[in-house]
């Protein structure tokens, strides 16, 4: 029979990189090693509660541990800069792509945090909607609704702004 310590060690080895990436994606300037250690310490404390599959649940723990870090706007700003820098670095050879992806990055950053987290869990952590619901600590139905709305709002943010003259020309606005 596997002991708690053995099970924890396996989880630690298998998911360390996943948790580190989760942290790096959301808080660019924290000491990732310390935060990851904090996350795994919580997991060790609660080893008897860890379900299978474990990773979505682990992301839920990481979310709580990181919550205080994400409150700081300086960190958010640096992450935004990192996203922008990433776009520049990776796509500098493709001017059109750079423009459209920079617009996408900007639109993404304008979304409410709940929307961004919903989209991150799907796109970056590559979770299924059901697992993402576990990580976000909400029901599957709630998550499905969040995903639907987040996508809609992202599209809306990416739509070109309507010039003021067009607005004025619309009936009923004056």
């Amino acid at each position: 029979m596997t002991t708690d310590e053995e099970r924890f060690t396996v989880l630690y080895e298998h998911h360390y990189a996943d948790v580190e990436r989760y942290v790096v994606r959301r808080a660019a300037d924290v000491v990732a090693r310390d935060v990851v250690a904090d996350v795994f310490l919580v997991i060790w404390r609660r080893i008897g509660e860890v379900p299978e599959p474990a990773l979505p649940w682990i992301y839920g723990v990481a979310r709580r541990v990181l919550a205080n870090e994400l409150r700081g706007a300086q960190r958010r700003r640096q992450l935004e800069q990192k996203v922008a820098a990433h776009v520049d670095d990776e796509l500098a050879d493709h001017a059109d792509d750079v423009a459209s992806r920079a617009a996408l990055a900007a639109a993404f950053e304008r979304l409410p945090e709940t929307d961004r987290e919903t989209l991150r869990l799907i796109a970056w952590e590559q979770l299924s909607p059901r697992d993402a619901a576990t990580a976000a600590q909400c029901s599957f139905a709630t998550f499905a609704m969040r995903l639907h709305r987040a996508r809609r709002r992202l599209r809306r943010e990416m739509a070109p702004a309507v010039p003021p003259t067009t607005l004025l020309a619309q009936p009923g606005l004056n």
Partner: protein, 352 residues
Amino acid sequence: MLTRMATETRDMLKPLDPAAGHRSAVPEQDRQDDLRRILAASAHADPKRHASRAARPRTTGRRLAWGSGAAAVVAGAVVATLTLGGSPSLAYEATPAPLVITLTSDARPAGEVLREIAGRAEKLPATTGAYQHLVTESWSLWTRIDDERVVSAVVPARQESWRGDDGSGKVVVASGEPYFPSAEHREAWEDDGSFGDGDKPQAETFGAGQFPAMWKDAPPADPAKLADWLAIAHPRENGPAETIVAVTDLARERVLDPALRAGVLRVLATLPGMTHEGAVVDRMGRHGEAFVLVSDFSGLPTHYTLVVDPRTGELLGYEKELRTEAGKLDVKLPAVIGYDLFVAAGRTSQPG
């Protein structure tokens, strides 16, 4: 349908992944050290703490890491920081003395008292000047120095900032005088070599639009709109205590001019569970009224206290205190686990 949505989302956003191609920054040896420390620290209580402490070398220059993030308490952090710091020689960790509140005989609801103060605040003249000048003194049980928690003394952090209307500014952070609740704590601090080393303030300047602020835009003074605005990055599902966290985050980064101050007080007046506990003299000797809300959203039943100047509506202080349960924290009840003193808040024409 949902699967298709997920696939499309991945296709669209994958290129923005900040961790795409990310290689671990943590060397294998460090990773294994952390694993050993976690397993050891949690398996038994105290003796391992010392081991984990010894594993981290101290640097001579003291650097204090703090901020709203460091001060915030989440359930996970409560457990996590518990075992990564600590001193085996102490019976309990150093915490500041709780505020002494003179219980009020005024039986009116807190909301009514707060609205009355708001009415006075909004009639006051606003100060002028292109820079918002703030001085805050803070401490939290999770404050780290040299990336390590200090449990033998209370070492507050003092932050002074100047924020220009163009979003430029300067922030200076320094650590204050250590406070020891007992001779035992002072001895542990000295045994640990935690005294006498130089502590220079850390200053950082920011260009236009770069001032580190949680909210870049100006808040609306209208209470209903302000309540929505405060909910940005402060999820309502955490309950009314989250609004208190939001208000104090705001006071750490912006001067609350009279109209905004009145708006903030009126938002606070709507919080369910808030009580007006009585008069208090704060850690700087200022007279205020204490408004208290109890919440366990951070993991333990915590008393969140706001100290408000009844004449001006100015926020003087914010305290987090455990009165009934310490969980696994090595603190003596009642225990203050964090405080902020809003030392100064006003406009000036000159940056520091």
